[in-house]
């Protein structure tokens, strides 16, 4: 359904060109819940914004193709975008409280969105808003309609955001770290809500997260990103039980695991994530990789198939 091929997005920062996303490819199928994982700064959010043509002024998609239902999304007019945004592909963000306009009530914002996409009067829109808020399990939806965003908790705001997105019944929902700013108990509720909507409405979800537990539990397919590149992909079972790329292994090792008994305790990544202004040559992970070889500093590894998945590491290539 959504097909991204060799997407490259660059930003101009002062005099530097930063390649935030550098040649990534991935797919989201009908009814699928796909996970995109990576540390902050790995280019996950930029990927999402590139797809929806919502990049800031200094960023732009340089090359690659984004295909939606068989048609390219690149070079669409502003008018076409208003038809696609929300109605076809919806998006929710990391900080739900900041995603709602502070000077309008929840009701104002919901009614505006509903009336933008369906012809109806205010009363009908308001009724629909309340039923949607009920659908996302928001308590006392009638009262909440007159509240301002600052009067609601983060979790409640995220439910409102989800309800607002649902009102346009998109075929795909991109959720950019939807639980990043929430309490742990609320996080689980929100992700469970997304998973249930994915199930009941058949809406595809692209879940961007660094929470491996959540990804493991709900996703059908997982992509791991590091510094603008996809380093490993595959079904969660494969990724979590036999990670191939050293970076994935390190990520898993960093999680103080509760359920999993696979601990890669030997894998401790040294150093900081390099600045995207000054990218390492060759494999981008080599400065921090315990298995780095001379070759890694020179050539960029491709994604080599491993079982049901793929990994971009020369270790994988040589083992095949």
């Amino acid at each position: 359904m959504l097909k991204v091929r060799d997407l490259v997005t660059q930003f101009r920062v002062d005099d530097h060109t930063v390649y935030a996303v550098d040649g990534i490819s991935f797919d989201v199928q009908e009814r699928q819940l796909v996970g995109l994982v990576g540390e902050s700064g790995s280019g996950k959010s930029v990927t999402a914004l590139s797809i929806l043509n919502l990049l800031a002024h200094n960023g732009r998609v340089v090359s690659g193709d984004i295909e939606w239902q068989g048609n390219s999304l690149r070079n669409r007019s502003q008018k076409e975008w208003t038809q696609i945004l929300g109605r076809e592909i919806g998006m929710i963000f990391q900080n739900p409280q900041a995603s709602l306009n502070p000077v309008f009530t929840i009701g104002d914002q919901m009614i505006e969105t509903i009336r933008l996409h369906t012809k109806c009067n205010k009363a009908e829109a308001s009724e629909k808003a309340i039923s949607l808020l009920r659908q996302v399990n928001l308590a006392d939806p009638e009262l909440r309609m007159n509240d301002y965003p600052h009067q609601l908790s983060g979790g409640m705001c995220q439910r409102v955001m989800i309800a607002m997105t649902l009102s346009m019944s998109p075929r795909l929902l991109i959720a950019d770290e939807p639980t990043g700013a929430l309490d742990v108990t609320i996080q689980a509720q929100i992700v469970r809500l997304l998973a249930s909507l994915n199930e009941s409405l058949g809406m595809s979800v692209l879940l961007i997260s660094h929470d491996l537990g959540v990804i493991n539990q709900f996703c059908d397919y997982v992509y791991i990103m590091y510094l603008g590149k996809i380093v490993e992909e595959g079904p969660p079972k494969l990724i979590f039980e036999s990670p191939q790329h050293p970076y994935t292994q390190a990520l898993l090792a960093a999680v103080p695991s509760v359920h999993s008994n696979h601990t890669y305790s030997g894998m401790v990544v040294s150093g900081e994530i390099p600045s995207p202004i000054n990218l390492p040559t060759g494999c981008r992970f080599h400065p921090r990789c315990p298995f780095a070889m001379d070759r890694c500093t020179l050539a960029v590894p491709e994604l080599y198939p491993v079982g049901d998945g793929k990994a971009a590491c020369f270790l994988v290539e040589s083992s095949n």
Binding site: L49, I92, L100, H150, M168
Partner: protein, 296 residues
């Protein structure tokens, strides 16, 4: 004080007057008392609503101010309204199109407008539109020939007299506010809720003039409050250049005549205007911003 050339007594009195008479005059008007005592007396009276009498026209200060207040309120009201109406869309648009040709021109113009001495701008406008082109009257508020004319004619006449002073105040005040609006808009447009609204497919004009505008207008209210003293002070000078019969002209001529009761009255009046303006700004802010409303 007595040695200064600015003794009101010397200004008021006939220079031929005998020194004894001069002393008598001073005593009558209380000008021989020490200044702190004069001020204390004035304050005591002012609290009771008595602002004293003009040293020149002998009119009660409160009457003199009341006579002039409507003209000032008219001039400032019209100017402020225009400044707001013009600067808001201008600033929002150039903030939204940051870096565009429109934005660059607006910013350059506002920088220049910011640096022009307002009184000089007034002089240049008089030079161009009254002296050279002879399109508009140089000064005053009404044509003395039209005192008996019908009301619509009178209104048209006043409007004609207002064009230049209003233009001067508006150009002077526009620059600062346009810049504020622009920066406010740029800041608001970088907020996450704007991105989220775009992601919902809300058209750009709604984003700009409904979602962003209300947020960008908030700091403006306080800024209006902060800029008020400068605008009031500036319009005083403008009034005196254009001979506009308002508080400012009264005040500036009182400065030269050293008519202290009038000066004190006007200082108090204009400070009161500013305090009231600030209170009104705070009130509006609380009305518009829901985050403050619930706190009160």
């Amino acid at each position: 004080m007595k040695l200064a050339p600015g003794d009101p007594a010397s200004f008021l009195m006939d220079p031929q007057m005998k020194p004894e008479a001069r002393e008598q005059f001073r005593r009558d008007w209380g000008l021989d008392e020490p200044i702190p005592l004069q001020y204390a007396k004035w304050l005591n009276q002012a609290v009771n609503g008595n602002l004293g009498y003009s040293l020149i026209s002998h009119q009660p200060v409160s009457d003199a101010i009341a006579d002039r207040l409507p003209a000032t309120l008219l001039l400032m009201g019209v100017s402020f309204a225009l400044i707001l109406i013009i600067s808001l869309p201008l600033g929002v648009w150039s903030g939204a199109k940051k870096g565009s040709v429109f934005d660059r021109i607006t910013m350059l113009t506002s920088f220049v407008g910011f640096s022009i001495p307002t009184f000089w701008l007034g002089l240049v406008l008089i030079l161009i539109f009254s002296v050279k082109l002879n399109w508009l009257p140089t000064s005053g508020m009404q044509d003395p020939m039209l005192t008996d004319a019908a009301l619509p004619q009178k209104i048209a006449d006043i409007a004609k007299h207002m064009v230049l002073p209003v233009l001067t105040i508006v150009i002077g005040g526009l620059a600062g506010l346009t810049r504020y609006h622009r920066f406010g808009t740029i800041q608001v447009l970088s907020q996450e809720y704007i991105l989220a609204a775009r992601a919902r497919g809300i058209p750009e004009w709604r984003i700009l003039y409904i979602h962003a505008l209300k947020n960008a207008a908030l700091p403006l209210i306080t800024i209006m409050g902060i800029q008020l003293p400068a605008l009031v002070g500036g319009s005083f000078v403008i009034e005196s250049i254009f001979g506009w019969p308002g508080l400012g002209q009264l005040g500036i001529s009182a400065v030269f005549a050293r008519d202290y009761p009038i000066l004190m009255g006007i200082l108090m009046m204009s400070s009161m205007l500013i305090v009231v303006g600030n209170l009104a700004a705070d009130f509006c802010y609380a009305k518009v911003d829901p985050r403050i409303r619930t706190r009160i």
